[in-house]
Amino acid sequence: MSQEHQTEVERTMAELNFFDAVKRALREEMANDDRVMCIGEDIRSHGGPYGTTKGLMELYGEKRVIDTPIIESAFFDAAVGLSLMGWRPVVDLMAADFITLCVDQVIHGASHYPFMFDVQIPLTIRGPIGGGLRFTASQEKSLEAMIANFPGLIIVYPSSALDAYGLLKSAIRSNDPCIVFEHKLLYFYSVSDEFPEDEFTIPLGEAAVKRTGTDLTIVSWGWPVRESVKAAEVLSETEGIEVEVVDLRTLRPMDRATILESVKKTNRAMVVTEAHRFGSMGAEVAATIQEFGFDDLDAPVARLGAPEYPIPFSAPIQDAYLMTADKILQTIKELLV
């Protein structure tokens, strides 16, 4: 359980933002294990579109930081081949949305080979995800639901600098193929945490309670976790409603126990996603809660998500799409007040 972990973290030294946390994780894992390598587009000199891989080539050499042409399909295939030869590739997608270009191999290669051939595919895919920068739908979508139904994959989606660091390290060390989504607003708004000096990891598959409460459980992941916590603070002050916020952090495998424990206490739950409600991982959360916590529920599990259109450019329609503390707050008021 991460709560322990976080108290441990309190004896800390420095503050790192999300971006630097990712950078530190990559550096440390490359230092720890000389089979860890990065492959992708424009990662050498530029460090990828957000600069997270910048400097790695200088530190670890040209062999371990490979630039490719714009060939998402073949470079992901290549990463599978590298994995089979004992490398541990960290595949850099410029936008998580481009997983659409290699999802064939994510499924038919990475997720199937270990089962079919008794091999390890210890690769990690990192992709900046989510909206808020006005890049529109082909670079700002949520796509975790696209790959969630395929056994063999691990899906990670941190919402804080500490989680990004600890989970990325675990993903790189994992012998299973891991997809790590990094929400772009977390880079952009330079979300920070106190960091201990010593290395640490956060286990895959463990949710974290990011705020404790007794009246309603929010289950969320990524950027909306922060909006949820914000909404919870306001509700506490203005309405005396205490919302517990469970951050899934890993979507597959999903930490059912932590979710159910929280719902047992609050007896009400809401899933908050940046994704469209219909067909999202929010559905899995709601289905899970009602299935295993039916008797704890005083009301149906609510779902809050994006409207049913692709995320557009212009401020009013993009804002109406994104998940905000205000939307969460209003919805909870409707539910509880």
Partner: protein, 354 residues
Amino acid sequence: MAISKETKTRPASDGAEFLRPSEQLTDDQLVDLYRDIHLIRRFSERQVEEFESGRMPGGLHPGHGHEAISAAVPRAVRPSDYLNGTHRSQNGILALRGVSFRRLWAEVFGRETGINGGRRGVDLMGTFEDDIRVWAHNPVLGHNAGIATGAALALQLDERDEVIVCLIGDGASVCGTVWEACFFAGIRKLPIVYAVENNMVAYTTRFEDMSPIENISDRASAFGFPGQLVDGNDALAVLDAVHTAAERARRGEGPTLLELKTYRFVGHFIGDPQVYRTREEVSEARKSDPLHLFEALLRDRGLLDDAAVTNIHHENLERIDAGLAEAMLDPFPNPADALSRTYRSGTYPMGYSS
């Protein structure tokens, strides 16, 4: 970076006579072409100004250096032919195909009246309107070529005499779907021109570091159609090459792969530190600025003087700024309307808008 004179006139197909429509342009037409090149440059510069002022949201990938291409391509073909630009050339081509600056700026600033109702923004705008025929480009690199190839297939099936010119970045030109599309177009001899805007860089990646062969145009032999290397900074060379390839396609002889060699004068995006190249390289390349080259040519021929140039620059800026002023008064889109745009087949029983 400059292309030697020999290469640029290499014929598109052996035996075919090499037409030079550029030689038939009237003086007025030449001046108009200059006006277009400048208009595109100025539009792009104004966007950069707006962006740097912080007023303009989203991302911006200016096309400074690509203007000979954006200006010559629309003139190389018939108004009824289809065009498909890249993120560098698209905005200029839209303006030259008659989309008002008001509609363009309105899109840039996310207004309801924008060419895409503010849904796409500056980098991605485009349209499938039949009276414009400048197809929107797909921001996932490579797929423009695939979609344009489908359009070419439609033109062939319908026995129409239009063609489509599909512009592709050098980086994008290696995406799997581009190879597949070219191969398919080669099999069916589709009426399409693939024209690579080779600005020698893709994001931060230098062309020479990511190509096993010197000329993209040489890839054409894998598809069974001709390739041609063209000086993409020379508007007349682009005009001639695109025209010849388009006419070849129109005659049913199939596609051509043009490589239009040019240079991106600015960063990939505003703020790009450009660590992948030296200032000297950029200054050297700027000597072949398509705007200056063409201005010099027309001055040489006595078609332009200081007064004429000043006048054109002034008029262009006025057009651009008038559109901007109008656009800024336009309303923003309404989220309530957005929902009704997702599906086209009317209302489904329920549930999908939840």
